[in-house]
């Protein structure tokens, strides 16, 4: 069943050059949605069940050391609570975005390419979710990265787009390389020190469904495992745009908004969190790893939120918010509560996709992404304004919207670990402060776009509400943005999370959260919204950003100069080295060879002179040669023979 699902997704890529190609893709994604929901409901009804099918992909010959029996690489499909949860996210958002695209993209060129790449992405993402070992995970991981590259580069004629696509691929590639090394280390670790039997006997089969080998090792210590964990963290940081590999995601916003909603908000960027969660549940991190993960997540959450505060581009504001929210999830996983992180991933996928689709609706109507050109959209686009507000409230963490439940769980789970390690404190505080920033920046965007009397830039077209194919997904997602958090009170969903947690990482408490903590965070978020209202409400525009010195604002707009720094390293540093190496190659290495050539050339030039053309000279050489031979034969040869003592 699950295999057929992947096949269905792939089949979506087959349709080409059809006018109704988009509808074919929608139909396929609807089928995928059906399968995904069936699996998800099935998991909820019978929690704890999992189905694992495996096939040997490749059997590699042995190598002395870790792999005396060779290495078996398998591919398999694994359906368990975690993958079911992710599968629901992927298929629901995938289907809605596909539907939304019909209207949003209909004016663009190259639609077959768009739909086939999006279908391929859905197939690869589903494959990633249900893959049952790290290698297979990596393969699909790369494929979704490829689709992301293609889709960011959809408007490839623009230089900025081409550059952003390259940047996204390259920065995630850095993470991928670390991920790959992490895979090697885990392979090595299990082949040498994993439990005997099972896979050790048969070369090496790496399965996460069968036995959570190191589930008990969370917080343990082993140098090799620490390295492996850091490498996995590096991979996740690349994909989930965590510090310091965060630079690509804001630039990726040059792709179509639908792509931003699906790939760069709901699913692919969450794959990094998913990877961390899976690793923590089935392989385990050491204490050092956990600290590193919490640090990266907590710092990124705050760091990205600050950049969202001043940005004028509506999509980039949401993109920074994505990075920030991903930081929350990473932090929860690092603190040892993988399922809390996944729960936040689950809710975040819906409200963030909602925010992007609502923003897409605005962009579709006005043709600009600049917040300062918008304004007063509340009246002509009532539905969109409401949807954006729901998404914003969910993001800010106002009850009863989804973000409240999950974000609160993240904060309380990290809070519960503060006693375990004092170094968690600063990152917890950073994450806590982020709540305020989140409320502020998302409602700053809302007020700028929707409040006020009229659109600020009069040259823009008259705004209008989009047709049903765009509003239906938004409404559905709005409903989910409310309901997905309340799912926590549904017992079967709760047990899904609990069972998925396996032996460890059981979420602290879902219903009896620390009241003080949650009321404090709600108050902070509300304060953020109030500040936003007081500054930007009713269509006000603050001429210079109050509270921020101009230099700070420029620092934030320039993203702390990280992008410029990386560009400098790439363009100036590496490229200069490459030019120098090229010079060395052409003039030193080749120069040496040409030097030899010149030496022999001039030697032969000199030797050539004796070939004068005078017959008499040649005769003289003959005579001289003859005499030399005679001398050698008659005088030297007997002497040599007598010395050697030969016959």
């Amino acid at each position: 069943m699950v295999v057929s699902f992947v096949v269905v997704g792939l089949a979506g890529t087959r349709m080409k050059r059809l006018e109704w190609g988009g509808w074919v893709a929608v139909a396929f994604s609807a089928a995928a949605l059906l399968v995904g929901l069936l699996i998800g409901v099935g998991e909820m009804l019978s929690p704890g069940s999992y189905t694992d099918r495996q096939y040997t992909w490749l059997h590699l010959p042995p190598a002395p050391g870790a792999f005396p029996h060779g290495v078996s690489l398998v591919v398999g499909t694994l359906v368990d609570p975690i993958s079911a949860l992710m599968l629901i996210v992927v298929t629901v958002v995938g289907f809605l975005v596909m539907l939304y695209s019909i209207e949003y993209m209909h004016r663009d060129q190259g639609l077959p390419r768009y739909y086939s790449e999006l279908s391929l992405f859905l197939a690869a993402m589903s494959g990633l979710v249900i893959s049952d070992n790290l290698l297979e995970f990596f393969i699909f991981w790369e494929l979704v990265g490829l689709c992301s590259y293609f889709l960011i580069g959809f408007y490839y004629e623009r230089p900025a787009v081409a550059s952003a696509a390259k940047e996204a691929f390259l920065v995630t590639r850095v993470g991928d390389v670390m991920f790959l090394l992490g895979v090697f280390v885990y392979f090595y670790y299990y082949a040498t020190s994993g439990p005997a039997g099972g896979w050790a006997a048969n070369g090496f089969v790496f399965t996460r469904g069968t036995a959570p080998f190191l589930a008990g090792s969370m917080g343990g210590s082993s140098p090799l495992l620490t390295v492996a964990g850091i490498m996995i963290l590096g991979g996740a940081a690349g994909k989930s745009a965590q510090f310091p590999l965060h630079v690509w995601l804001p630039d990726a916003m040059v792709g179509p908004t639908t792509v931003s909603a699906l790939i760069h908000a709901a699913t692919m960027v969450a794959a990094g969190v998913y990877l961390l969660a899976v690793t923590s549940l089935f392989l385990g991190f050491t204490a050092v790893d956990q600290l590193a993960i919490v640090a990266v997540g907590g710092f990124t959450a705050f760091f990205a939120a600050t950049m969202a505060v001043v940005h004028p581009d509506i999509k980039r504001v949401i993109a920074y918010s994505t990075i920030s929210q991903l930081g929350y999830m990473v932090m929860a996983v690092g603190a040892g509560f993988a399922m809390v992180g996944l729960f936040h991933l689950f809710t975040h996928a819906f409200f963030k996709a909602l925010l992007f689709l609502a923003a897409g609706s605005v962009i579709h109507a006005l043709g600009t992404q600049d917040l300062f050109k918008m304004g007063g959209l509340r009246k002509p686009m009532r539905l969109t304004a409401a949807c954006f507000a729901i998404g914003g409230l969910a993001l800010a963490g106002i009850p009863p919207f989804a973000g409240f439940w999950s974000k609160d769980d993240v904060l309380s789970s990290v809070y519960s670990q503060l006693g375990a390690h004092p170094a968690y404190w600063p990152f917890f505080l950073l994450a806590f402060a982020t709540v305020f920033l989140t409320g502020y920046y998302i409602f700053r965007a809302w007020f700028l776009a929707f409040s006020g009397e009229t659109v600020r830039d009069p040259t823009l077209p008259h705004p209008h509400e989009p047709p049903w194919v765009m509003t239906v997904p938004m409404v559905v997602l709005s409903a989910l943005a409310v309901a997905s958090g309340l799912l926590i009170f549904v017992p079967s969903f709760q047990s899904l999370l609990l069972v998925g947690a396996g032996a460890t990482g059981i979420p602290p408490t879902f219903s009896t959260t620390d009241l003080l903590l949650s009321s404090a965070s709600v108050a902070l978020a509300a304060a953020g919204i109030l500040v936003a209202w007081s500054l930007w409400g009713n269509g006000r525009v603050v001429p210079t950003e109050i509270g921020f010195a101009e230099s700070v604002r420029r620092l934030l707009l320039n993203r702390y100069y990280f992008k410029a720094g990386y560009d400098w390293i790439g363009a100036k540093g590496v490229y200069t080295v490459a030019r120098a190496a090229d010079f060395f190659d052409q003039f030193v290495i080749d120069g040496t060879i040409h030097g030899f050539e010149r030496i022999f050339g001039s030697l032969s030039d000199r030797l050539r002179r004796i070939q004068s053309g005078f017959v008499s000279d040649y005769a003289a050489y003959i005579v001289a040669g003859l005499i030399t031979v005679f001398v050698l034969l008659l005088l030297v040869a007997p002497y040599v023979v007598s010395r050697i003592g030969g016959g």
């Binding site: 050539r608 053309g613 005078f614 017959v615 008499s616 005769a619 005579v623």
Partner: protein, 105 residues
Amino acid sequence: MTDLSVVGFLGLSSALLAVGIFGVLTRRNFILLLISIEIAMNAAILNFVYFAGFLGGTSGLTGQAIAVVLIGFAATEVAVGLGIVLALNRAKGTINVAQATELRL
């Protein structure tokens, strides 16, 4: 015959050879060059004839036969040589070998 005569004959033919080689190396006139080559050649023929007589019998006959063949060779060689002389004269208007330096790159 005595050893002295062997030495004498060898001395004679060596001298002839030396004269021939000297001529080859120094003369610029093609015809003189040919004559020098003939002189050197005759030194070899003289040796064959002498040693044929010296050894006698069937071995001697071999030497005489070779000498006769060599005389034939010398004649053909001169014929070819003179042909070259004529060709050279026709092409260059001279029979000075110093003028014919095409034998090089």
